[in-house]
């Protein structure tokens, strides 16, 4: 790079026209209480009912849930999560207790609230919340799960979209010039998505969360694919220092 170009680039940087790295580069979130040592990492964890929906997508874009696939995907995800918790130092999985109907209703509503929180965090546009991440769902779950002796729960949900052979062919043909005029252009192939989040039971604080999104070849009916997905999410656990360096800097 010539001196002239370098100076021009420096000028642009100074003007703030190039933005620094943002949340999209580091997908995990860490509660500020973990950053400043006011909370400890989860030790005894209840894995909440896993929700994974798996769909088949036709050439025309029609999506249809396949219940057997969803059941298999859920089983694979739970198995992979349990295996990872067993391998993680200092962590132990605690069984979900039997729940009464009213307890189940409390659990369901907290899971619905969690989903809203997890969806709001990445889209809020509030940069200062990255520096001091303090989301939560309140201590209501503790009324139901305190008897397990757990100190945290793990929220797990996801989805997977598998393309039919017709859709895959359409995708391939869609990349060929001229041919794609007749086949309707490019189509998106299937994708897999899993989200994990630890909630501290006593406070309801969202201690840590992360997601993995993969386009194309991954199939959550295959345990190996799921194991890989979960490992990719946990690669960032707990990532406290990494998060601190990225976001929790003093301005």
């Amino acid at each position: 790079m010539s001196v002239r170009n370098f100076v021009a680039l420096a000028a642009l940087l100074l003007a703030g026209l190039l933005t620094p790295a943002h949340a999209g580069d580091t997908p995990h979130w860490v509660h500020y209480r973990l950053l400043n040592g006011q909370a400890h990492l989860p030790k005894k964890v209840v894995v909440m009912p896993v929700s994974v929906r798996m769909y088949e997508v036709t050439a025309g874009g029609v999506q249809e849930e396949v219940p057997e696939w969803s059941t298999q995907a859920e089983a694979n995800v739970h198995k992979a999560v349990s295996a990872l918790l067993a391998k993680t130092a200092g962590m132990q999985e605690v069984a979900m207790p039997r729940l009464s109907a009213s307890e189940r209703a409390i659990i369901d509503e907290h899971m619905a609230l969690y989903k809203l929180v997890a969806n709001t965090v990445p889209t809020s546009g509030l940069k200062h919340k990255l520096r001091r991440f303090d989301y939560g769902i309140g201590p209501g779950l503790n009324t139901v799960l305190a008897r397990t002796g757990a100190d945290a729960v793990l929220m797990v949900y996801g989805n997977d979209y598998a393309s039919t052979a017709g859709r895959k062919t359409k995708a391939v043909l869609g990349k060929i010039p001229i041919v794609n005029i007749f086949t309707g252009g490019e189509v998106e192939l299937g994708h897999s998505f899993v989200h994990l989040g630890f909630i501290e039971l006593k406070s309801g604080d969202l201690l840590w969360m992360n997601s993995e999104y993969r386009q194309g070849a991954s199939d959550m009916r295959e345990y190996d694919d799921v194991e890989d997905l979960i490992a990719a999410i946990f690669k960032w656990y707990p990532g406290i220092e990494r998060y601190r360096e990225q976001y929790a800097y003093d301005e």
């Binding site: 874009g61 052979a165 017709g166």
Partner: protein
């Protein structure tokens, strides 16, 4: 320089795509209607998917508060359904849907939803039987599945991007093809007759609804506005019922006794959504309003107030006075009359009506605070 001939490549690609798409085409071959409740345990894989979607949709409706919770009316409607289709008892499940739209829909898993707006409009059990017969036939003949198959095939060459669960699992919200609707009309009618209901009530129901659609310029989604044409269906029902002598179950008194709270609540919800025209249409017509509780005249008064055309204030007062005479324990009437007289400067009457309201209204009534405030200012 050699020229490339792209034509063979195009043809091959097109042929390959066509072959794969056609190979993947859904079909209804080998799929027959349900004969009894036991049949619902023998579903093909493609049918199981749709059943599962319907169950998920049931859960969503329940969870999100869209199911209308009125145990007595629900049990009653279920009883009528079981009388019409005894061989499907336990499989066709009726739910009341919290909407004043004139609609009903059946899902692939045998869930049948009837809007409270529809229940409010009907006059007797025979009309209910006509409606339920039609909807249950959609389920028995697997019309939802047929609709799913044809829509999937139609979309094969176009990118719809539409999540399908709401379209196909919920079968009759957007209506079926002309032929399927005719089948549901005819077979539903047969059931109605077989169960001993007066066959003449079927076309009456459609006639009342056609009148309402026309008067209020109602558009789809609407139960009777999809194929075939509404007037054609009325004529078809007349033709079908002409084969029978008059008479048969009506159960008018039973029906209206059980539906009274729903009819009143439907009026309340119509006002709450500013659908005052529906309220006026029903309560102004003596042949219709006689099937509503007399407290309905309170809502008629509210409807005139919302419409606010010439002479409506006087009509509103007359309606509230009628409600006061015929439904003396209905508290909201007194609040409204109190406000009317307060605005017109008649403090004595205003105080009288506010006092009546406070005496009758429950402790947590939403307007209580206003009544107390107005009383203290008079």
């Amino acid at each position: 320089m050699p020229t490339t001939n792209k034509q063979p490549l195009l043809r091959a690609s097109w042929a390959l795509l066509l072959a794969l798409l056609l190979a993947g085409c859904a079909t209804t071959e080998g799929v027959s209607s349900f004969k009894s409740a036991d049949d619902t345990g023998n579903l093909r894989e493609s049918e199981q998917r749709l059943w599962h979607e319907a169950e998920s949709y049931d859960d969503t409706l329940e969870r999100s508060g869209q199911v209308y919770d009125q145990a007595r009316a629900t049990a009653y409607v279920q009883g009528v359904m079981d009388r019409l289709f005894p061989e499907f008892k336990g499989k066709i499940t009726v739910h009341l849907y919290d909407s004043t739209d004139l609609n009903a829909f059946a899902m692939f898993n045998g869930s049948v939803y009837v809007n409270i707006g529809m229940l409010a409009r009907m006059e007797n059990e025979a009309q209910l039987a006509a409606l339920l017969g039609h909807e249950a036939t959609h389920f028995i003949e697997k019309h939802g599945f047929q609709k799913r198959v044809s829509a999937k095939n139609a979309s094969a060459f176009a990118e719809t991007g539409v999540p399908f669960s709401r379209l196909a699992a919920v079968s009759s919200i957007s209506g079926f093809s002309r032929d399927l609707e005719r089948e549901a009309d005819a077979k539903g009618f047969e059931r109605m007759v077989k169960a001993g209901y007066d066959p003449r009530e079927a076309h009456k129901l459609f006639q009342y609804l056609a009148d309402e659609v026309q008067a209020l310029h109602i558009e789809a989604p609407y139960f009777f506005s999809s194929h075939p044409d509404l007037s054609e269906r009325i004529e078809e029902y007349k033709r079908l019922s002409a084969q029978y002598k008059g008479g048969g179950r009506l159960e008018t008194e039973t029906y209206n006794a059980i539906m009274a709270p729903i009819k009143l609540d439907a009026l309340r919800k119509d006002i709450g959504q500013d659908r005052y025209e529906s309220v006026i249409l029903v309560m102004e017509d003596g042949s219709k309003s006689r099937y509503y509780p007399p407290a309905g005249y309170y809502y008629l008064g509210e409807a005139y107030t919302r419409r606010d055309q010439k002479n409506d204030p006087a009509k509103a007062l007359e309606a509230w006075k009628k409600a006061e005479r015929q439904a003396p324990k209905f508290a909201p009437t007194y609040m409204r009359l109190g406000v009317y007289y307060m605005k017109s400067g008649n403090k004595k009457l205003a105080r009288h009506y506010f006092q009546q309201y406070l005496g009758l209204a429950p402790k947590d009534a939403t307007d209580r605070g206003y009544a107390q405030q107005y009383m203290s200012s008079l």
